[in-house]
Amino acid sequence: MNSAMFLAIALLMFIIMIALAVASVRSKDLIIAAILLAGVSLIASFAFVLMRAPDVAMAEASIGSALTAIIMVYAIKRTKRFEDDDNGGGHQ
């Protein structure tokens, strides 16, 4: 692929990755935040393939998308599911 298409695909991937990351941080439901974090790892694995690193892409796709998301979901299930209300108010 020539340089312009490479750059266009990379730009699209980074935009999707940053949008997923911001949505994950701003979500009040923690389980949805964990799933969106798995999405960030998936798009990062595409970026690794684009940068000619297939070993790293396999590792990131399996570890980042599957295992990190599932241990976060189990941790959320053992604690609270929803984040407390807004960042400036609350108790204390």
């Binding site: 297939p54 070993d55 892409a57 396999m58 590792a59 399996s62 570890i63 599957a66 295992l67 599932i70 241990i71 189990y74 941790a75 299930k77 053992r78 807004d86 960042n87 400036g88 108010g89």
Partner: protein
């Protein structure tokens, strides 16, 4: 109530993060992207690329760097993973038990039968990945994680079955010991720990090639797979 907007509330945090990210960005613009820094005659990567296939006998240059040239770092990484898994198991066992045991919904028919068919296939794929680590992209860590994913699927579709903790610990300990044992073979034969002593055995590109590399990756794959299965089971506890 929200008397300040989102921007005002997190303005210090946003400013600090943009400052850090901007500084690192300006530093890395000097480095450049996509330029051939690896072609210099006396760079480390150049030596690994030029002599990799005949010194280690593996087609995958990343495998030869991870297991052969930087094998001691891989031993350190396996140690860190072992410490983390042990720490997770120990800390979880110190938590107080939940007072109410919730019973989650039973898995549906599609999940039960589909899982029963795909779990052996996923485990087989994991074994394939760490067995062919020196020929194609993959290796011990990726294959071990895929096997742990198969175990996780098993936990989801059969929540009533208990985990064979004894067998998992036995596999993990034996695999870790064999990794160190393979290194000691290198020490005994040529005086260098983790030396690849039978590197020239077999042709490049065959399954039986690369000396100790596939054996080390088999040990790492079994160890990582059983370790992460234990971690997943510990973190699940009795959550539905």
């Amino acid at each position: 109530m929200m008397e300040r907007s989102l921007l005002q509330r997190s303005l210090p945090a946003l400013a600090i993060s943009l400052l850090i990210a901007g500084t690192i960005f300006l530093a890395f613009v000097e480095v450049g992207f996509g330029e051939a820094k690896v072609d210099e005659k006396d760079s480390v990567s150049n030596r690994y690329i030029a002599n990799g296939t005949e010194e280690t006998g593996s087609s995958n240059l990343v495998t030869s760097v991870v297991v052969n040239y930087r094998g001691f770092d891989t031993l350190g990484e396996v140690t860190v993973l072992f410490l983390a898994a042990t720490g997770v198991g120990a800390l979880i066992s110190m938590l107080p038990d939940d007072k109410k045991k919730r019973k989650g919904p039973a898995p549906s028919l599609i999940m039960a039968y589909g899982g029963a068919v795909t779990i052996p296939l996923i485990a087989l794929f994991g074994v394939y990945v760490f067995l062919h680590g020196h020929l194609s992209p993959g290796g011990g860590f990726q294959g071990g994680v895929i096997i742990a994913t198969a175990f996780l699927l098993f936990l989801i579709i059969r929540p009533d079955r208990s985990t064979p903790h004894g067998a998992l610990s036995l596999f993990e300990s034996l695999a870790g010991l064999s990794f160190v044992g393979l290194g000691l073979i290198g020490l005994a034969v040529s005086g260098i720990f983790l030396d690849n002593v039978i590197a020239g055995f077999g042709n490049l590109g065959d399954l039986v090639s690369g000396g100790l590399l596939p054996l080390i990756y088999i040990a790492i794959g079994v160890k990582v797979g059983s370790e992460l299965s234990g971690v997943v089971h510990s973190m699940r506890g009795d959550a539905p």
